[in-house]
Amino acid sequence: MVHALVVKGLSKSYGDHVAVDDVSFHVKEGEIFGLIGPNGAGKTTTLRIISTLLKMTSGDITVCGIDMRADADGIRKCISYLPEDAGAYKDLTGRAYLNFMAAFFTTGEEMIRMVNKGIEISGLEDRIDSKISTYSKGMMRRLLIARAIMPDPKLAILDEITSGLDVVNAFEIKDIVKEIAKSGVSVLLSSHNMFEVDQLCDRIGMIDGGKLIMEGAPSDLKREYNVDTVEELFIKATVKK
C-alpha cells in the first residue's frame, strides 16, 4: 500500500542549530495525523519541508509515491498547505480568490466546478462576493480551508488550523477536517492544542526539541502510558524519557 506521506530520517539545520532531528513517520491514505508539541519544537519547520517551502538538510520524503528530491513540482500538484494564521489577498473578493487559486490547477468547466466546491465548503454563501478585507477571522479561515480542499489534494497539510478562533468557529473547522478525511484525503496537521488532536486524529506524533519522541494512535498511547488525556500522555512520556 502506498502511503500518502512517508518521512524518513528528516533533519533540518540552520548553521549549528538543528531545528528538526532525524524525524521519521508516515501518514496513511484517508488518515488524520497530528504533529503535536510546544512552540519552537519543529512542527512548522517539518510541515514547511513537506510542503516544499524549505529544503531538508538530510533524509527522504515521499508524497503519494513521489520523491521530493526528484520532483518537488510533482508533489505540489498533490498537496495543499495551509499555514498558521494565514490570510488572503484582501483586495479580492472570496470568489476572486478561489478563482485565482483554482486557475493553478485546472481551466474551463472543471475550474468552475472546483470554485463552486470551494464556495460550498466555505459556507460563505452571499458573502463570497464581498471583499476579503471585510471577513471575520472565522470566515477567513473557512475560505482558506475551502481553498486548500477544493482541488482534491491527496494530502492536506494544515498548520494550527483553529488557533485564535472562537469555540463555534473552531468546532466548524474541525467538522470540515473530519469530512475531508472521510472523503479520502489524508490530513497532516499540527497543533499544540492536545485536546483538539485527541478528538480529531487517527494517529499522532509528538515532537519536542526537533525530535519525534513518540508516535501512534491516541487511544493506544493513552492505554500504554495509563493516562486519560493526550496532555497527560505527553507529560508522562517526556518525564519517562
Binding site: N39, L54, A88, G209
Partner: protein
C-alpha cells in the same frame, strides 16, 4: 488561462486598487491643471499689452516719434501694429490718482505719461542744452505671480526700444546720417554666437539658449523616473511585506507553478502597473513643465528632435529601469518580515532614484568628474533620466552602453530573485550563525530526572 497571466492579473488587481488609481489620477490631474492654468496665464502675458498714453506736452513731434517706435516694437514683437493697443488719455489729470482711476476704469494695467517738457528736452539734447526726456510709467493691479515679471520685462524692453531709437535719431541728426551710421555709432560692436554642443555647431545660439531649450527634458525625465521608481518600489516592497505578513506568499509557493513563473508574474504585473502610473504622471508633468517653458526656445528651434525609434529606446529604457527597480525591491522584500518593516526598506531605492535625479537636473553628465560619472552610471535609474537629452545630442555611446547595462542589471536581479525564491531565505530570512537552541517546554522536567 496561463499561470503567468493569472499571476499578472492578481498583481495588477493588488496594485491597481481604486484607491491607488484615483490618487495617482488626482495627482496627475493636479499637475496637468496647474500646467493649463500657468499656460493660460502665460498666453495672456504673451498677448500684445494694451497701454495707456498720456501726452502732457504741447509739442507733439518727438512724442509722435516715440509712439512710432512703440508701433515698431509691436510689429517686431507681436507681428501687429500698435494702433488697437494704445489708448490715449485725452483729459489732463488733476493728479496721479486720477491717472490710476482712469486706467482702472478702462482695465489698463500700464500707462506711459510723457512729461510736459519731454519733446523740448529731446529736441535740445543734440544742442547739448537739453536734459533727458521723462516718461513716467504707471502700473495698476499687475499680477504678482511668476508671470508678473514677464509683463514688466516686456514694458522695460519697450522703453529700451524707444530709448534706443530716439538715441539713434539724435545721433543721425548730429552726423547727418540717420540710417545705419547712427545705429553703428550707438552699437559699434556686432556679436555672432556660435556654440558647439553635442558635437554639433549651433550658429547664433548661446549655451543659455540651448539650456533653456532642453529645460523640459532635463527636468521632466529625472523627476518622472524618480516618481515612478519610488512609487512602484514602495508598492512592491509593501506588497511583499503584506504577502509575508498574511502568509499568502507561502501559500503561493506551494501551488503547482514554477518559481520562475511566480517571480516573472510579480515583476511583469508590477511593471505594467508602474508604466500605467508613469504614463499618467508623464501626461500631467508634461503639461506642467511645458507651461513653465514660456518664451524659451524649444528643441525644434535648435534642430534637436526625436524620431520614432528614439521614443522606442526611451520606452525600453524606462521599462528596463522599472524592471531593475522591481528586481531590487523583490530582493529587499525577501528580507522583510511584515508590512511595517517593508516601509523602511524603500529608503535605499528612494536614495538611488533621488541622487541621479538631482545631479542630472543640475549638471551635465559629460562634464562630471570620472568617479561621479562611474557612480551615476552604476545606478540603473540614471540612464532613463538622461536618455532624452542623449538622444537629441547624439551621445550614442552613453545610450547603447546604458541600455546594455540596464539589460544585464535587470537579468541579474531577476536571476537573484529567482534564486531567493528557490531558497529558504524567503521564509527564514538571514539566520545568524550562532543561535541558542529553542526552549523546550519539558526541559525542566528532563533536568529533574537527572
Amino acid at each position: 488561462m496561463s499561470h503567468l497571466w493569472n499571476l499578472i492579473r492578481k498583481e495588477l488587481k493588488e496594485l491597481m486598487t481604486p484607491a491607488s488609481v484615483i490618487s495617482i489620477i488626482v495627482v496627475a490631474a493636479v499637475f496637468a491643471s496647474m500646467g493649463t492654468m500657468i499656460s493660460s496665464e502665460a498666453d495672456r502675458v504673451m498677448e500684445p499689452p494694451t497701454i495707456g498714453i498720456l501726452n502732457m506736452s504741447d509739442d507733439n513731434e518727438n512724442i509722435a516719434c516715440a509712439i512710432g517706435y512703440i508701433d515698431d516694437f509691436y510689429i517686431r514683437t507681436y507681428g501687429v501694429p500698435s494702433g488697437n493697443y494704445l489708448i490715449h488719455m485725452n483729459v489732463v489729470p488733476e493728479d496721479r490718482y486720477a491717472i490710476i482711476a482712469w486706467m482702472q476704469e478702462r482695465n489698463i494695467t500700464v500707462l506711459f505719461a510723457f512729461d510736459a517738457d519731454y519733446s523740448d528736452n529731446i529736441s535740445q539734447i543734440a544742442d547739448g542744452t537739453g536734459s533727458r526726456g521723462l516718461i513716467t510709467v504707471y502700473y495698476s493691479e499687475v499680477s504678482t505671480g511668476v508671470f508678473g515679471t514677464v509683463s514688466t520685462s516686456i514694458i522695460n524692453m519697450m522703453i529700451s526700444h524707444i530709448n534706443m531709437r530716439t538715441s539713434e535719431a539724435i545721433i543721425g541728426d548730429l552726423i547727418g546720417n540717420g540710417g545705419d551710421g547712427a545705429s553703428n555709432i550707438r552699437s559699434p560692436i556686432q556679436v555672432s554666437n556660435n556654440t558647439v554642443f553635442g558635437g554639433t555647431m549651433h550658429e547664433g545660439l548661446t549655451p543659455s539658449d540651448i539650456s533653456s531649450a532642453l529645460q523640459t527634458q532635463s527636468f521632466l525625465m529625472p523627476i518622472l523616473i524618480m516618481i515612478i521608481i519610488t512609487m512602484i518600489g514602495g508598492m512592491i516592497i509593501s506588497s511583499m511585506g503584506n504577502e509575508k505578513e498574511n502568509k499568502t506568499l507561502e501559500t503561493l509557493l506551494t501551488m503547482p507553478v514554477a518559481r520562475t513563473t511566480i517571480v516573472t508574474g510579480k515583476l511583469l504585473g508590477s511593471t505594467i502597473a508602474g508604466l500605467a502610473f508613469g504614463l499618467a504622471y508623464l501626461v500631467g508633468m508634461y503639461f506642467y513643465m511645458d507651461s513653465m517653458n514660456v518664451g524659451n526656445m524649444s528643441t525644434d528651434n535648435i534642430g534637436l528632435t526625436l524620431a520614432l525609434t528614439d521614443w522606442g529606446i526611451i520606452a525600453m529604457m524606462i521599462f528596463l529601469a522599472i524592471l531593475c527597480a522591481l528586481g531590487m525591491c523583490m530582493i529587499l522584500g525577501a528580507f522583510v518580515k511584515n508590512y511595517k518593516a517593508a516601509q523602511t526598506l524603500t529608503l535605499p531605492i528612494t536614495v538611488l532614484a533621488m541622487v541621479p535625479m538631482f545631479v542630472i537636473m543640475f549638471a551635465d553628465f559629460n562634464t562630471l568628474p570620472g568617479v561621479l560619472q562611474g557612480i551615476l552610471f552604476a545606478i540603473p535609474f540614471t540612464h532613463p533620466m538622461m536618455v532624452m537629452n542623449n538622444l537629441m545630442l547624439g551621445n550614442t555611446f552613453l545610450i547603447w552602453t546604458g541600455l546594455g547595462y540596464l539589460m544585464i542589471f535587470s537579468l541579474l536581479t531577476i536571476y537573484l530573485t529567482v534564486r531567493i525564491y528557490n531558497s529558504d531565505i524567503l521564509l527564514t530570512g538571514l539566520i545568524r550563525k550562532k543561535r541558542s537552541p529553542p526552549k523546550s517546554l519539558f526541559g525542566r522536567s528532563r533536568d529533574r530526572t537527572k
